[in-house]
């Protein structure tokens, strides 16, 4: 058993038995063998680690405390100060460790040293959640702190299935095979498309646990939420706005979420009551039409098992990714490919492609690519393709190899022939006004250009219909930070705009230059 093949095989067997390979030094007698052993360990990382038997933390604590006490006792016997004996090993490396960690701590946020465990415990608690029933309160506030809306929903959830009853009695149910809405006011049962699912509450426990783990986070305090002690976590998505999540200290489950202020609104979701792992009535997710209700069907689409079936129903030839979707839905005029966290919607392209005003523009398949909120949209091979979700950019590149996303670092306004000076103080005040919910037109580069150009034409003010109509304005370029609007008529050919205060979808546009015609 000394040839390399057998030694490698023994090594694999030892790891499979969860034992320390005793003879590793002997087995790895050549760099080649060392590399192969390392490759075995690497492949093994693809499997879940074997966890110690029940009661391990208690056994661990006891052994650790015993060893420390024994070491201390020996040191005292030898007349040494505690901690000195092992210095020869621990001192240089630990000093380096402390220096490194302190440097890291200085550079990063000050946080509770158990925060990772808290988030980890939350992830675990959420993973162990088989079902729940709860009342979710959703309160939105504007930036002035005024309550904008208050809604309440009763929720039942089990795996991917959910049912949600809103304030007005409307009950939406998704049992993963069908989605429908029971509307008591109109005595209707509306059949709805399964994906994309936009009905979800905005506070999905699994998504929140996942995000909290993924993004930098800090424990910033402890508060009582709906009668429960909860740790308050500040979550800072890179490049995004900070938001807060409260975790119930007893159950380790998220209990409240406060979104960042977006579009001058901030929403707080609170579980005012929550029963985890409870007994749910199985009928809640069963499709049934209450007596006296009529069924309204607006092409809810159907779940098909092959692309061929989808093609036959929709009469479209979709563009596909190398990877198969988890589910395929076929509609009369579109195909929806559901990849779990990402959805691809393909429809027949009709009319001209009009990007949403304010969307950033890239390029795909030789034409414009619309980048707006969490979706990408473009035209290719007679299809209009829209991709929503976390893997949108990765998937879009697989369909349109030439895809370029908007580059916000790219200078596009410096070509303006006439520069327009901007008073930053005024821009800041305008931004605050928009954040409070007024003058939302300033978020649209076309509307800002329309006002600017028409004021050039009629400096005394715009009375009635503007001289240069809205239809004359077209977005030429937009990288999210700077934009160019082309004007078909009037004294100005092109308007150059910039988001001077904030470079995201909540940032206002200011005119910084133009080209006269």
């Amino acid at each position: 058993m000394h040839d390399p093949e057998n030694r490698l095989s023994d090594y694999i067997d030892t790891l499979n038995a969860e034992h320390e390979p005793e003879e590793r030094h002997g087995a790895a007698d050549t760099p080649e063998m060392e590399k192969l052993l390392a490759t075995v360990r690497l492949v093994r990382t693809l499997r879940e680690p074997a966890l110690p038997a029940h009661g391990y933390p208690e056994r661990l604590a006891k052994t650790v405390a015993d060893k420390i006490s024994k070491n201390k006792h020996m040191e005292q016997k030898q007349g040494m100060k505690p901690g000195k004996r092992r210095r020869s090993w621990i001192w240089p490396s630990v000093t380096a460790v402390v220096a490194g960690v302190l440097l890291f701590a200085a550079l990063s946020s000050w946080s509770d040293w158990f925060k990772d465990d808290m988030v980890y415990a939350m992830e675990k608690a959420v993973a162990q959640l088989t079902n729940y029933h709860g009342i979710l309160e959703m309160r939105s506030q504007n930036e002035a702190g005024e309550e904008w809306s208050v809604r309440q929903a009763e929720l039942w959830s089990e795996g991917d299935k959910y049912a949600m009853r809103q304030d007005d009695g409307t009950l939406t149910i998704n049992n993963n095979e069908q989605k429908w809405q029971i509307r008591p006011q109109s005595k209707e049962v509306a059949l709805l498309p399964l994906v994309p699912d936009l009905v979800k509450t905005g506070f999905d426990l699994r998504d929140e646990a996942q995000r909290a783990k993924q993004y930098p986070h800090t424990v910033v305090g402890s508060e009582e939420i709906a009668g429960r002690q909860a740790a308050k976590l500040k979550i800072s998505p890179p490049g995004g706005l900070e938001y807060y999540l409260w975790i119930d200290k007893e159950t380790n489950l998220p209990v409240q979420l406060q979104t960042a202020m977006q579009n001058a609104l901030q929403t707080t979701y609170t579980f005012s009551s929550f029963e985890p792992n409870t007994q749910l009535e199985p009928q809640i997710f069963a499709y049934q039409v209450p007596e006296g209700y009529k069924v309204v069907e607006k092409d809810p689409g159907q779940l098909v098992s092959t692309i061929e079936e989808a093609v036959a129903i929709s009469r479209l030839t979709p563009l596909l990714l190398p990877k198969a979707p988890a589910r395929i839905f076929a509609f009369l005029d579109r195909i929806v490919l559901d990849y779990g966290d990402t959805t691809i919607i393909e429809t027949a392209a009709q009319g001209s492609f009009e990007p949403v005003a304010g969307s950033a523009l890239g390029t795909a398949a030789g034409g414009p690519l619309e980048v707006w909120q969490d979706h990408l949209r473009w035209r290719q091979d007679g299809l209009e393709i829209q991709i929503e979700g976390v893997k949108r950019a990765e998937f879009a590149r697989q369909i349109a190899a030439d895809l370029t996303l908007p580059d916000s670092a790219q200078e596009i306004v410096n070509k303006a022939q006439v520069k327009v000076p901007v008073d930053l103080e005024i821009a800041k005040a305008d931004q605050q006004q928009v954040d409070r919910g007024s003058s939302p037109w300033q978020l649209d580069p076309l509307q800002v250009s329309l006002t600017f150009v028409n004021l050039k034409v009629t400096p005394e003010g715009i009375q009635g219909e503007p001289k240069i109509p809205f239809s004359s304005f077209k977005l030429g370029a937009n990288n999210g930070a700077q934009a160019v609007v082309e004007v078909a008529d009037g004294p100005i050919k092109q308007v150059y705009l910039e988001r001077l205060i904030r470079q995201d979808e909540t940032g206002i546009w200011s005119v910084v230059g133009y080209d006269p015609r």
Binding site: P49, A61, V64, G100, L102, F114
Partner: protein, 177 residues
């Protein structure tokens, strides 16, 4: 008890404080170590040694309150390196990452994710037979005899196949660096 108090008590050898620290931190630390050594026996030993070293050190020095887990992960890497050096008698350079404590401890998760993606990418380039033998032997953990039965080959052929598959994988991974 807040973290500073807990730490102070643990430093004095208070068993309840030590139990609380172990209970709050053992799992991410253990998983971190297991990821490196890939066996329960060694992972349990190193986890234990890491707590002893860290808490012994705390008796003498101020510990960084922030990122305590990161601190312990780096101590664990030192323990691991020390053990592997002791085992190494022939002086062959170990393929062990240079320790940058803050980075190693804090970016490890991210690195693991990237490493997994790279590995899956490379595995996808291998032949079906090679992937199958690695899957059965290493990921699913079947014995040589069981694997031989599943794939309909002799045990000697399975050993040869897994050796060659690992050689190809190592080469592909090197090419991927």
């Amino acid at each position: 008890m807040n973290t500073a108090d807990l730490l102070k008590k643990a430093r004095e050898g208070d068993r309840r404080a030590i139990a609380q620290i172990c209970s709050d931190t053992w799992e991410p630390l253990y998983r971190f170590i297991y990821f490196k050594v890939q066996n329960l026996e060694e992972a349990e030993d190193i986890t234990q040694e890491t707590y002893v070293k860290t808490l012994t050190y705390l008796q003498e020095q101020q510990a960084p309150l922030e990122n305590f887990l990161g601190f312990m992960k780096t101590v664990a890497l030192n323990v691991l390196r020390d053990r592997w050096r002791q085992k190494k008698r022939r002086g062959i350079q170990l393929n062990f990452e240079e320790i940058n404590p803050a980075e190693t401890a804090n970016q490890d998760h991210q690195k693991a994710v990237v490493q997994r993606l790279q590995l899956e990418n490379v595995l996808a380039k291998m032949s079906g037979d090679q992937r199958l033998v690695l899957d059965l032997r290493i990921i699913k953990g079947h014995s040589v005899a069981e694997t031989a039965k599943i794939v309909g080959k002799t045990e000697a052929a399975v050993r040869t196949a897994q050796y060659r598959a690992l050689q190809s994988l190592a080469q592909l991974l090197n090419g991927n660096d």
